[in-house]
């Protein structure tokens, strides 16, 4: 029996050894807490690692210059561009056709994704605001970014949730959001409860030129944009305030238009193709891959092929075979095309026409014609045509000029290097001109600045100006900068018909609240009409 007892004891002990675990799960290969703010080394020009890195990364990650998010819904729904269905490619359940024709539904994927992306980014900003121990200047920057992201949501969807970190999920009316965004911006600008430029001396924001961070001028630029559209948002116009905010930037900011004196090497040049310029000059330089020091940019989102990915314009727009023009690492998608009517609004000699579009016969790196063996046309050579046969189902694979404003460099990776301006002086001039004209009810007041912008683009001055002409000028200048939808709405043109689009109903000026989010948050109510 003694042996038996020993054995039982032995087995029992083995059992106990493995027993009584506390079942605590400590993740090893995943990040479970936020540490963007723990003083990781600083460096880099105008950006790099500080407590605000997460805040500005969040803007980049909010669909600013890639396919399927903010840029796409803001642009494809306008008369600037479309994603045509090219036979078997790009039908995709009709999401881009309905975006173009303003028949989008609450289940539309990009409409849904854009909502979630903005709130995801706002959450990261809130995280910094509540946990990062920001100093006054950083706090002001973070709040401006948060207000800017709310402005995007309010502009897109109208009545939204103000995510100020309180955890509330209540929907606010568009004018309540307007007031909140305005209040946040005014507070960051040191102005108290009403717009008053004399308050700027109290602002924690700086005045130095910092491209990747917020200073007083970028905050004023956002405020000017908010005021310029105030009538759309609230029914009450704020044009004088918009003009004053923009005017302050023009008068006091350390910025100048990127004119013929500004030039950067053309990183996309093919040695075998003599028509490729050696340098990108003036307007084109603002958007070049090496645009980080352009004097016109007030606030831009930093993109980098290795460390700050998220800009994919080359993939989004170019034909598959155009890979061999620039030696891209990956094949483009043959999606976005510019609309003929829009392209034709440029005069032939307009520098911006050349900078903004990729047109005509396409050659590879060695200067030989690119071909598309699957194309419908009898000759397989690729020629981007200004006209497009149809939106769907068999849009020509080479139909439409392509989006070339953010110029491509040779051997570009899937992510581009060009920085994406959110506030730049050219835009500020046009906002100032428009606000001044609208405040006075006299479009002629906008002429000097419009002509300055035209002069920079090498087109002759206008002698008179109508609202329609102004809108066209603004369109030419701001192509591919995610501004067109907002501009069309402000000018009352959004619901008009254009190529392959009939008149749309008035309620289409705001997108529907995504149906997924209506399910997840029962306090949300859908916008009228949807």
């Amino acid at each position: 029996m003694k042996t038996i007892n020993k054995i039982i004891l032995g087995i029992g002990l083995i059992g106990i050894t493995y027993s009584c675990t506390d079942l605590e799960e400590e993740l090893l290969g995943d990040l479970t807490s936020d540490f963007s703010l723990e003083g990781i080394s600083t460096g880099g020009s105008g950006g790099g690692g500080d407590a605000l890195t997460g805040v500005f990364n969040a803007v980049r990650n909010a669909g600013t210059a890639n396919h399927g998010g903010y840029f796409s819904v803001q642009s494809v729904s306008s008369d600037e561009m479309a994603i045509t269905q090219k036979g078997g490619d790009w039908y995709d359940g009709g999401i881009w056709l309905e975006m173009h024709r303003h028949t989008f539904t609450p289940a539309n994927g990009p409409v849904t994704g854009t909502w979630s992306q903005q709130y995801g980014s706002i959450a990261e900003v809130n995280n910094a605001i509540s946990n990062a121990g920001l100093d006054a200047n950083q706090m002001a920057q973070a709040k401006v970014v948060r207000a800017y992201l709310h402005w995007r949501l309010m502009d897109l969807y109208g009545n939204i949730v103000i995510a100020d970190g309180s955890g509330s999920s209540n929907q606010s009316s568009r004018s309540a959001v307007f007031n909140w965004v305005e209040g946040e911006l005014l507070s960051a600008l040191g102005m108290g409860s009403s717009f008053d430029l004399s308050g700027l001396s109290n602002s924690s924001l700086g005045t130095n030129d910092v491209k990747y961070r917020i200073n007083q001028y970028s905050a004023l630029g956002i405020l000017a944009k908010l005021y310029l559209n105030a009538e759309v948002y609230t029914g009450t116009e704020r044009y004088s305030d918009a003009a004053a905010a923009a005017g302050h930037i023009i008068d006091n900011g350390p910025y100048s238009l990127s004119d013929s004196g500004i030039s950067v090497p053309n990183l996309g040049k093919r040695p075998a193709v003599s028509s490729d310029p050696d340098n990108l000059v003036g307007y084109a330089a603002i958007f070049a891959p090496n645009n980080e020091n352009n004097p016109e940019i007030i606030w831009s989102v930093e993109y980098d092929e290795a460390t700050a990915g998220g800009m994919n314009f080359h993939h989004m727009t170019l034909h598959y075979a155009s890979q061999y023009t620039w030696n891209f690492e990956a094949q483009p998608w043959n999606g976005y095309v510019a609309l003929e009517e829009f392209v034709n609004s440029y005069e032939a000699g307009d520098d911006r026409r050349k900078a903004n579009f990729i047109a005509g016969p396409q050659l590879d790196y060695g200067g030989n014609a690119l071909v598309d063996l699957a194309s419908d046309s009898p000759t397989p050579e690729i020629v981007y045509s200004i006209g497009i046969n149809e939106l769907e189902p068999n849009g020509a694979r080479t139909g439409g000029y392509r989006l070339g404003k953010f110029a491509f460099k040779q051997f570009a990776r899937p992510n581009l290097d060009n920085d994406y301006p959110i506030v730049r002086l050219g835009d500020v001039h046009l906002m100032h001109a428009e606000a001044t004209a609208r405040a006075a009810g006299n479009w002629a007041l906008a002429l000097p600045e419009v002509n300055a912008i035209r002069a920079r683009a090498n087109v002759s001055a206008l002698s008179s100006l109508t609202a329609e002409q102004f809108l066209a000028e603004r369109g030419r200048e701001m192509f591919q900068e995610a501004s067109r939808r907002t501009d069309l709405i402000r000018f009352g043109k959004w619901n008009d018909s254009w190529w392959e689009k009939t008149n749309s109903d008035a309620y289409r000026t705001v997108f529907p609240i995504p149906s997924e989010q209506l399910t997840a948050n029962s306090s949300l109510s859908q916008n009228t009409g949807y």
């Binding site: 039982i8 087995i11 083995i14 059992g15 027993s19 675990t21 079942l23 605590e24 400590e26 993740l27 290969g29 995943d30 990040l31 479970t32 963007s36 703010l37 990781i40 080394s41 880099g44 950006g47 890195t53 500005f56 990364n57 969040a58 980049r60 269905q85 036979g87 078997g88 490619d89 995709d92 359940g93 009709g94 539904t105 289940a107 979630s116 995801g120 939204i160 995510a163 955890g167 930093e302 092929e305 460390t307 598959y320 075979a321 061999y324 690492e329 990956a330 094949q331 690119l370 598309d372 063996l373 699957a374 419908d376 189902p393 068999n394 990776r413 149906s515 989010q517 399910t519 997840a520």
Partner: protein
């Protein structure tokens, strides 16, 4: 004086037994129909034992008073005490299958005592032929157990599902228990080493395994040691496979006639990338022992080729099962170990996909190009450059490498100690370690690479790429339990209770880089020359390690038999896991079942058993991933090449996350008559609180998804199996099953899944779930049969006069979509037949599934005569409509995929005592209207594993094969 007397008697005994020990006993072992070759005869309590020869004859030395034990698998053992006779002939009774012992969780029971849904399949019922995957032995054999391996990829995993879908997102494959080791890997068991399977189908049977029992349990018992001198057995198989069914595409002439771009050659691309594939299998095993110490060792070698060039594997597996006794036979020690080394060529399935859609007039080689073409950049192959998703299939499969290496090691020990006559203690400890490494190399002249997630290969812009992947999982199990038995005249009681602890760990690493200087060597062996090392951000690397997943469980069970006619079984398990939220780690899983054999009670003549039974149980389900309850963040660099960066939220936390729970009620009846046996089970299951990554309020959580317990599924079904001896030489058996899964609750009223994808059919979801309806609906517009301007016209399904067929309206009330089919079969059938004619045995196994449909994605993408796709071949099945020139998903591409096939036909001949020869055909013929390559159901989305998107035949499929196998089995 006492002592002397004892010595004296001892001496007398020895002398007496010595006197009789010379006795040789011989005789014949047979059953009612004839001799039983291989029956064992053992002198009880000694190491002496022999095996009967081909004629059933044996000869053994024994002494008077010895007890001889005659036994044979499937027969009731008989014990005969040796007197002074020299000849003992024995007729063994085929063991009444009621007394057949089934291995169940933590113990075993006789078939008659089982009161829940349990099925046992032994080796002679297994599927035959060149079977390389242990689970395929069972395919179609167990009612309610779905085993599908679509296509003929020898390296593809098999999908196993029991009684339909029991969960969403969590584990939906049954738990595998090998020789008592819970959660062991079937990859490390050679099919030829398996003795039997027991499948625990209902929650009552599986509840003893607690959290992992929700999807059922498959218990594997490997072959163990024999008795007597070493018995060496060899079995070998030689098999040849070829492509079974291909998708109809256009011939070069048809292609040109329908407007395709003529590139002046004629190429049968599928023929270029496939082959007749040979497989050889060699198994050697040796068994032996003396009744106390037994062993079985085996070595298994498999060399298999796939029908796609450069695919297949070489595998070597060994296994040792050893057992012995100690401490007066009260302690039994079992040791077993197995090791598998597998080198696999995974090939590239994409090669088959491109072979289907590549321009049939394109040449294979650059020298045959119809225009000046720089083939040197592409390894001498022709490529249609500048097109989306168009790559020379021969170049893909011949230039590039995709090789994997898997190593699996298991070892474990079981101790069984008889504490007293009615108390037994068990201790089990087992370890398992699996390593897998994969290397992919795209040659510097390859245009194609499988991924755009990193630079990859893309000649001539990026020359070549090398990918390295490895993972390792470790697993340990320790269990301690005991059982107590009590028997009286009219009652048998067994109580079992114990503790189980399990720990698992998993880690993996991946990195890839490319752009190598030239084509001189395979740069995967010299990655230091990668240009990516000079360019920040171009090397991709990631690694991860799971925290230890620990499971802690206590369990107890009672088995009660009353009057040999009434049976009651009850169990409970309390279990905790690290994978759940801090507040909800533990769950309790009870079960109860009972049954009564009415045959003796009612005095039915000719009926050996008529047992109705009822059972109820609760099982849990553990999420498949770790950290689901926690917040997870990602990392973004700050740009500008600076070291700064920040985290960003990827998943919001949920500390309340708790167990999924399944309850199941099963009613069954077992009938055994002379020639007929039948089992019927009817069940109803409810799975609630299933764990899904659901949409949450983005404004509140900062991210629009987190894991929550949300929703409920219920299912019901029936399973019938019937076995009938038509004549003494012909046995037939049929298994039938049907299952319906309904979504009771969900995060929203309906949802859509199964995106078709690029080109052109993103945001096109082809399946839908809706609360209150069956899971597995294929959902889309209904083609009315007419075509206008190249586009299909759709039906106004709801007849409201307005046609709403936009994909973004898919879930709207007014949408004109309809249920176009079900991804899940209504009825599955397995029909086995065994005919014996002299030395010949014919096994014919038919299998079928009915009521399911498949979305034929090859057709949906490539059958419309899309104008701008002129350099891609068109799929051209009998369903093709040349008028349709626009690719729109609709009912036209959803096909009923009912099939009935002669799955497995074997003719074998017992040549003599030692040798058996066989000829086997797998996939002999398939009767189906489906135009794709394989009509077997796709139980989940083959792209992302989503169980709510079944029924999609994706384009990345490996064509299925038919194979012929010659087999030999030889006993030395």
């Amino acid at each position: 004086m006492k002592l002397n007397l004892l010595k004296l008697s001892l001496a007398f005994t020895i002398a007496f037994s010595g006197m009789l020990s010379a006795q040789q006993v011989s005789g014949n072992v047979s059953d009612e129909t004839g001799p039983l070759p291989g029956a064992t005869v053992v002198v009880q309590g000694t190491t002496t034992g022999v095996v009967a020869d081909f004629d059933g004859n044996y000869s053994i030395s024994a002494s008077a008073g010895d007890v001889l034990v005659f036994s044979y698998v499937g027969y009731t053992a008989q014990e005969i005490t040796v007197g002074n006779q020299n000849t003992i002939d024995i007729v063994l009774q085929s063991s009444n299958e009621l007394e057949e012992v089934l291995v169940t969780g933590y113990g075993s029971q006789q078939q008659k005592e089982i009161t829940s849904a349990v099925t046992s399949i032994s080796a002679e019922e297994f599927n035959q032929g060149a079977i390389n995957d242990a689970s395929q032995l069972l395919q179609g054999k167990v009612a309610g157990l779905q085993i599908y391996n679509r296509g003929g990829d020898p390296n593809a995993g098999t999908v196993i599902r029991l009684r339909g879908l029991s969960s969403l997102g969590a584990n939906i494959s049954p738990l595998v228990v090998i020789d008592g080791v819970v959660g062991a890997s079937l990859n490390n068991v050679d099919p030829s080493d398996i003795e039997s399977y027991t499948v625990l189908k209902d929650a009552s049977a599986a509840a003893i395994y607690g959290s992992r029992g929700s999807s059922g349990v498959i218990i594997v018992t490997t072959k163990s040691g024999g008795v007597g001198a070493a018995q060496l057995t060899y079995s070998g198989q030689l098999s040849s496979s070829s492509i079974l069914n291909q998708i109809d595409t256009m011939s070069p002439q048809e292609f040109i006639a329908s407007g395709g771009r003529d590139l002046s050659s004629q190429t049968d691309w599928l023929d270029e990338v496939t082959r007749d594939a040979f497989t050889q299998i060699h198994n050697v095993s040796a068994t032996g022992g003396n009744g106390k110490t037994n062993y079985r060792v085996s070595a298994n070698l498999r060399e298999a080729e796939g029908i796609l060039l450069n695919s297949g594997f070489d595998q070597f597996n060994t296994r040792l099962n050893f057992s012995t006794t100690a401490l007066d036979d009260r302690l039994k020690i079992d040791f077993n170990t197995s090791f598998t080394q597998r080198d696999q060529k995974n090939g590239f399935k994409e090669s088959m996909r491109y072979a289907t859609l590549y321009n049939p007039t394109a040449p294979v080689y650059a020298v045959d190009a119809p225009y000046a073409f720089n083939g040197a950049q592409f390894g001498g192959y022709y490529e249609t450059l500048g097109l989306f998703d168009s790559y020379n299939p021969v170049s893909i499969i011949k230039q590039n490498l995709n090789n994997g290496e898997r190593r699996e090691l298991n070892y474990g020990i079981n101790l069984t100690y008889d504490v007293s006559d009615n108390i037994t203690a068990y201790f089990r400890s087992a370890r398992q370690s699996s390593d897998y490494a994969n290397r992919v190399y795209f040659r510097t002249t390859s245009l194609w690479n499988s991924s755009n997630d990193y630079g990859g290969a893309d000649s001539p812009v990026r020359k070549g790429a090398a990918e390295f992947y490895e993972n390792n999982s470790e697993f340990q199990l320790n269990e301690l339990y005991g059982s107590w038995k009590k028997s009286t005249d009219d009652m048998n009681l067994v109580v079992t209770a114990g503790y189980s602890y399990q720990k698992e760990n998993y880690n993996e690493a991946f990195f890839a880089l490319g752009d190598f200087p030239g084509d001189e060597i395979d740069y995967i062996d010299a990655i230091e020359y990668s240009q990516d090392l000079l360019n920040a951000g171009n090397v991709i690397a990631n690694s991860g390690r799971n925290p230890d997943t620990e499971i802690d469980a206590f369990f107890a069970r009672v088995n009660l038999t009353w009057n040999n006619n009434f049976f009651l079984n009850a169990s409970i398990r309390r279990e905790g896991s690290t994978r759940l939220g801090a507040d909800n780690r533990y769950g309790t899983f009870p079960a109860i079942s009972m049954g009564a054999d009415l045959a003796p009670i009612l005095g039915l003549s000719g009926v050996q058993q008529l047992k109705p039974r009822i059972s109820y149980g609760v099982t849990g389900n553990l999420p498949g991933q770790v950290g689901l309850s926690q917040e997870i963040r990602g990392w973004s660099w700050g740009g500008g090449g600076s070291a700064g960066g920040s985290t960003n939220l990827l998943r919001a936390a949920n500390p309340d996350l708790k167990w999924e729970e399944k309850t199941e009620l099963n009613f069954g009846i077992d009938l055994t008559m002379d020639r007929l046996s039948a089992t019927l089970d009817i069940y109803e299951q409810t799975s609630k609180d299933f764990i899904i990554n659901r949409v949450v309020d983005a404004a509140v959580y900062g991210f629009d998804r987190r894991f929550e317990n949300a929703g409920q599924l219920s299912s019901n079904g029936f399973e019938l199996s019937v076995n009938y001896d038509v004549t003494d030489n012909y046995n037939t058996g049929i298994v039938l099953s049907s299952n319906k899964v309904v979504l009771d609750e969900y995060v929203q009223d309906s949802d859509k899944f199964g995106n078709l994808g690029a080109p052109g059919q993103n945001s096109t979801w082809v399946t839908r779930v809706k609360v209150g309806e069956q899971v597995g609906q294929i959902w889309g517009p209904v083609w009315d049969g007419s075509v206008t301007n190249g586009s299909q016209n759709f039906k106004d399904v709801n007849g409201d006069g307005e046609l709403v067929v936009g994909q973004n309206n898919a879930l709207d009330d007014n949408v004109d979509f309809d249920v176009l089919g079900s991804g899940i079969p209504d009825l599955e059938i397995g029909w086995s037949n065994q005919i014996t004619i002299g030395d010949y045995t014919i096994n014919a196994f038919f299998r079928g599934a009915f009521g399911h449909s498949l979305v034929n994605t090859f057709r949906a993408f490539y059958e419309p005569r899309v104008g701008s796709q002129k350099s891609y071949n068109y799929v051209n099945t009998e369903l093709a409509n040349p008028e349709i020139k626009n690719a729109n998903f609709s009912s036209l591409y959803v096909e009923e995929a009912d099939f009935f096939k002669l799955d497995n036909l074997t003719i074998s001949r017992q040549v003599n005592d030692n040798m058996n020869l066989s000829l086997n055909v797998q996939n002999a013929f398939v009767i189906t209207d489906y135009t794709g390559s394989d009509p077997e159901p796709a139980l989940f989305d083959l792209l992302d594993g989503n169980p709510l998107a079944p029924g999609i035949d994706r384009r990345n499929s490996y064509y299925s094969a038919r194979s012929f196998t010659l087999g030999i089995n030889y006993k030395f």
